[in-house]
Symmetry: C2
Subunit: 256 residues, 2 copies
């Protein structure tokens, strides 16, 4: 199944995504089986981030080639950081580059695990059962700020810096897929989605030694490759078996 | 006014806190004027974190004496980090020290600003108007993890590490108060709450240059002094004019 959140008459509504239509749902499918309350055409849908997470986790260095490229040390255990929900935006919505950003302004294509259960002290098997499904994230990063600030508060969390979507796919072997990053249709990177140092289940086991994970929590799994984005570009991140997250890039203060 | 969230028959309910009773409310007072739907005695109330923030911001080094003590550089502009909602717990609930934590396990007494408006590009005056009220936070920190991990993910965000409460006070000159930290009734620290490098409004102005703040977002303002906590202790943080946040400390695996 593919579950999304749409903006319908100004309200956020969950939906089950079909080929031509989206069946609107009475509530979240994360922990219950909601009723179908209507249908809208898929064409023209306004896509919201497919979930607003209680806690938004992001893994940093997690792909061997990214680590080698950055000259970083390969992590010896799973670790996470946090991102801010205020930065989330949906499939099709613009990434707004702040007028004062200079230097590299980059896309990071990431697999996202969406939790469906409350877990603490999870085994590897419990971690697998606790993932509801998978979506796609673009961990947009302003590198100058990333290097000058004490935290990633604006480098990775300014408004619109966290596109996520288009939907949550519940029936895919996410780690057996290919992630492809395109700018204006041109392939800039392609890598095996599952070529990670520590996979999502390793992270869930480690996090839940100390922290309870809840339905809707998301875990962004890091990127192998990144690429520069310019205002006017359209950035697509495809993960085979899941879908395509596509966002135009806009300069702050300029109309779409 | 003092607004809190209580656990009533297993549900989270907003309340307006009086001397003897809490008036239960039909909804959040942050952006509307809810109706009174009932009353419960204040004695025996089960206090929840007074708000579950859309985004949970925390300031690091913000008191001159703390900065000098840490041998850190005085920040030349306001900056923030993030904490995780999963770590929140209410007034009266235990802080659970993980069994594997070694080294310093410390309380950090902090003033917390609670936002009441959606703001972007706020002026100093708009920042003042956007604060709904004030509460108290204990930024519990496991220092060994703080020094060994890439982020503060478990050092400051393990379950129960973020007591907040007891309520939101809307009618106090928060920066003119005194913060007092007590362990088992003994004063361990006392400092002028407003003796900050950058005040909450400075931070709101700086954050909203790039990021939209929303009602319910919280901004923890940093601590001047910290102190060690041991299982069996009760830690009280008082900010005059606001109230007292009190939490017992428990060792993981041991009964309360």
């Amino acid at each position: 199944m593919r579950y999304a959140r749409l903006s319908v008459a100004g309200q956020a509504v969950w939906g089950r995504v079909g080929e031509e239509h989206v069946a609107l749902l009475s509530g979240s499918p994360l922990t219950a089986a909601p009723d179908v309350i209507g249908t809208v055409p898929r064409a023209g849908a306004v896509w919201l981030p497919p979930v607003v997470p209680p806690v938004f986790y992001a893994v940093g260095m997690n792909y061997p080639r990214h680590i080698a490229h950055a000259g970083a040390r390969t992590p010896d255990r799973p670790e996470v950081g946090h991102r801010a929900n205020s930065a989330l935006t949906g499939h099709g919505s613009p990434i707004v580059k702040p007028a004062e950003v200079t230097g590299r302004f980059e896309a990071e294509p990431e697999l996202v695990a969406v939790m469906g259960r409350t877990v603490r002290h999870a085994t590897h098997e419990e971690a697998r059962a606790a993932v509801f499904g998978w979506t796609i994230g673009n961990d947009v990063s302003a590198r100058t700020w990333q290097h000058t600030d004490r935290t990633f508060w604006r480098a990775k969390n300014s408004d619109t810096f966290k596109p996520m979507g288009p939907w949550i796919e519940t029936e895919v072997d996410a780690l057996a897929q290919t992630t492809t990053l395109r700018v204006n249709g041109e392939v800039r990177a392609a890598f095996p989605t599952g070529d990670m140092v520590f996979d999502p289940y390793d992270h869930i086991v480690e996090i839940t030694r100390h922290i309870t994970l809840h339905p809707g929590d998301v875990l962004w799994m890091g990127a192998e490759s990144v690429c520069q984005m310019e205002p006017g570009d359209t950035v697509d991140i495809e993960i085979s078996g899941i879908g395509v997250l596509s966002n135009p890039v806009l300069l702050e203060g300029e109309p779409l």
